[in-house]
């Protein structure tokens, strides 16, 4: 390759890099803009010109959101239901995946088909019957009612099965020689060997549930039972036309999942690529 061509290639590479960085900044700008606007006093928020950095910072909108709305209770509801869905999904899936991966029993093949089938069925079409079912069980407006219909996460079983399939047979054979029970093998070998997967899947299940909108929106009519994702959209009256307060509430609603992502970036990335069927 001659020198001129090399130079051109390098210049091209530099331009692409710079463009990518600029695009990323523009891409994330609405998030920045939302946060900055929530920190401005009302008169600055509605100024007719662009002001990228506030003249005065204020927490008044956050104080308003925290004291004048039920955001505190919504937080508790969101945490309780997201933890509930995560624990129940991981718990039931891990046992089921272990059985499918390591044991031979009559229902094994139909069960596996059922899981793959549920992967294709859109849960949105089941909202009517989920609602009727939860109404019959008297679980509307309760944590259990929000949690139960959200337990369909076949992908968790599928990922666990892949990982359990890869555990070398020697471990199992050695454990059988020691007369270990299935439970013991699961808790002493298979789960500890796959802690990484468990944390990754738990974090994304938590994030998915925190972000869920349609079902929590239908299952709850009483303001004090809402999750935060639903709650911040249902209080237009409480906010009036105060954009900054709405944005402050939105920032508070997004903060936990954004932090979870920034703290566990690697894990989140791994879990998402895994759940799409790509080995991370």
């Amino acid at each position: 390759m001659n020198a001129a061509a090399l130079k051109r290639l390098n210049a091209g590479a530099a331009i692409i890099t710079v463009l990518t960085v600029i695009c990323a900044v523009i891409w994330a700008f609405p998030i920045y803009w939302g946060i900055v606007s929530s920190l401005k006093p009302d008169d600055e928020v509605v100024r007719p010109y662009i002001e990228l950095w506030p003249d005065t910072f204020t927490l008044e909108h956050y104080i308003f959101a925290l004291t004048e709305t039920q955001i505190g209770i919504w937080y508790i509801n969101s945490i309780a239901t997201a933890v509930g869905v995560t624990v129940l999904t991981i718990g039931t899936s891990i046992f089921c995946a272990y059985a499918i991966s390591q044991l031979r029993f009559p229902l094994r093949q139909p069960l596996w088909w059922l899981i793959l089938a549920s992967f294709m069925v859109p849960t949105q079409v089941l909202i009517i019957n989920h609602f009727v079912l939860m109404a019959e069980m008297r679980l509307l407006n309760s944590w259990a009612g929000i949690i139960l219909p959200q337990l369909i996460h076949p992908v968790v079983v599928i990922v666990y099965k892949q990982f359990f399939d890869q555990v070398p047979r020697d471990f199992r054979e050695a454990a059988i020689m020691d007369n270990a029970s299935e439970w013991r093998m699961l808790f002493r070998i298979y789960i500890p060997m796959n802690w990484g997967v468990t944390t990754a899947l738990s974090i994304v299940t938590f994030i998915w549930t925190w972000n869920a909108f349609l079902w929590p929106f239908l299952a709850v009519t009483r303001t004090e039972m809402m999750t935060i994702t639903v709650g911040i959209t249902q209080t237009n009256d409480a906010f009036g036309v105060y954009y900054a307060s709405e944005l402050a509430a939105a920032v508070l609603a997004g903060l936990p999942v954004a932090l979870a992502y920034l703290l566990f970036q690697r894990k989140v990335t791994q879990a998402i690529t895994l759940s799409a069927g790509i080995k991370g």
Partner: protein, 281 residues
């Protein structure tokens, strides 16, 4: 069998049972809660004449057209750019692109409702700059779907970017080195190496996008507030409206079954198509 019992119990209760009930319900005139009479296929027979059903169907198709291929193309372009970066810079830039995906839909709604605000939105300055008349984009029918599609691409792109990055990483570096020795141009390298080797991932991203966009509801519902929900009707919205606003469980179930079948048919077709195209040399 204590191992599968909890899972099976949950699935029977919230998956198998509601699915069977859905089909049964669609042949009755039941309200949302309570029993109804068997009416045969009447709920289905009504759909071809139902104008709102047509709107829902065509808007959903329109939305799919606006998001699936454009969203995938944008994600691929970003992934190609991000993959050239290294170390901390790459992690930072990726985080900026990925952050929207991690946020709840209601936060996305608040952010864009504010950004696009007719009076005070910062995007209106961009409109002024480009010489476009300011419009309340979420209140005008012609603007609504393209804007919601735009916001959706912005919101969900991070997911596709991750998949593309994983795919790009799997392409061996030696192939690119060989291409460089041959003095291949950037475009030629992309066309002859990256694109064909990445095709399985591209097909996967397209499939996932297609299936998830058919089920759109949240954004349309939120951005329609104070606007024109009946013009912006999409399939899941129509199920919701029939069942929860009109109290017509049976008719809503029929619409749900139609969507159910569309998603299944699309999934199966897609699976077959990618298998065929995966076999090409």
């Amino acid at each position: 069998m204590a191992l599968i019992a909890p899972f099976l119990a949950v699935y029977t209760l919230i998956f198998i049972y509601p699915t069977i009930q859905l089909f049964l319900l669609s042949f009755t005139d039941a309200p949302l809660i309570g029993a109804g009479e068997y009416v045969g296929v009447e709920n289905y027979a009504r759909l071809p004449e139902d104008r709102r059903f047509h709107t829902a169907l065509s808007n959903t198709a329109y939305f799919v057209a606006l998001t699936v291929v454009p969203g995938t193309a944008v994600a691929l372009a970003i992934a190609l750019g991000v993959s050239r970066l290294n170390g901390r810079l790459q992690a930072l830039i990726l985080a900026l692109f990925f952050l929207p995906y991690i946020l709840p839909v209601s936060v996305i709604y608040r952010l864009w409702d504010w950004t696009m605000n007719f009076q005070f939105g910062i995007a209106m300055h961009v409109f002024d700059l480009l010489g476009i008349q300011r419009v309340p984009v979420f209140k005008v029918t012609g603007w609504f779907m393209p804007m919601v599609a735009f916001v959706t691409i912005w919101w969900t792109c991070g997911f596709s970017i991750l998949l593309f990055l994983a795919g790009l990483r799997a392409i061996p570096a030696e192939i690119y080195e060989a291409a460089q020795l041959d003095n291949a141009s950037r475009w030629r390298t992309f066309r002859r190496i990256t694109w064909p080797l990445l095709w399985p991932v591209t097909a996967l991203v397209l499939t996932i996008q297609l299936i998830s966009q058919l089920k759109i509801f949240d954004q349309v519902y939120l951005f329609s507030e104070g606007g024109r929900p009946n013009d912006n009707m999409v399939m899941v919205y129509y199920i919701f409206q029939r069942a929860f606003e009109r109290d017509q469980g049976g008719r809503a179930a029929a619409i749900a079954v139609v969507l159910f079948l569309i998603v299944i048919v699309v999934s199966v077709l897609n699976f077959q198509l990618t298998r065929i195209s995966g076999r090409r040399p």
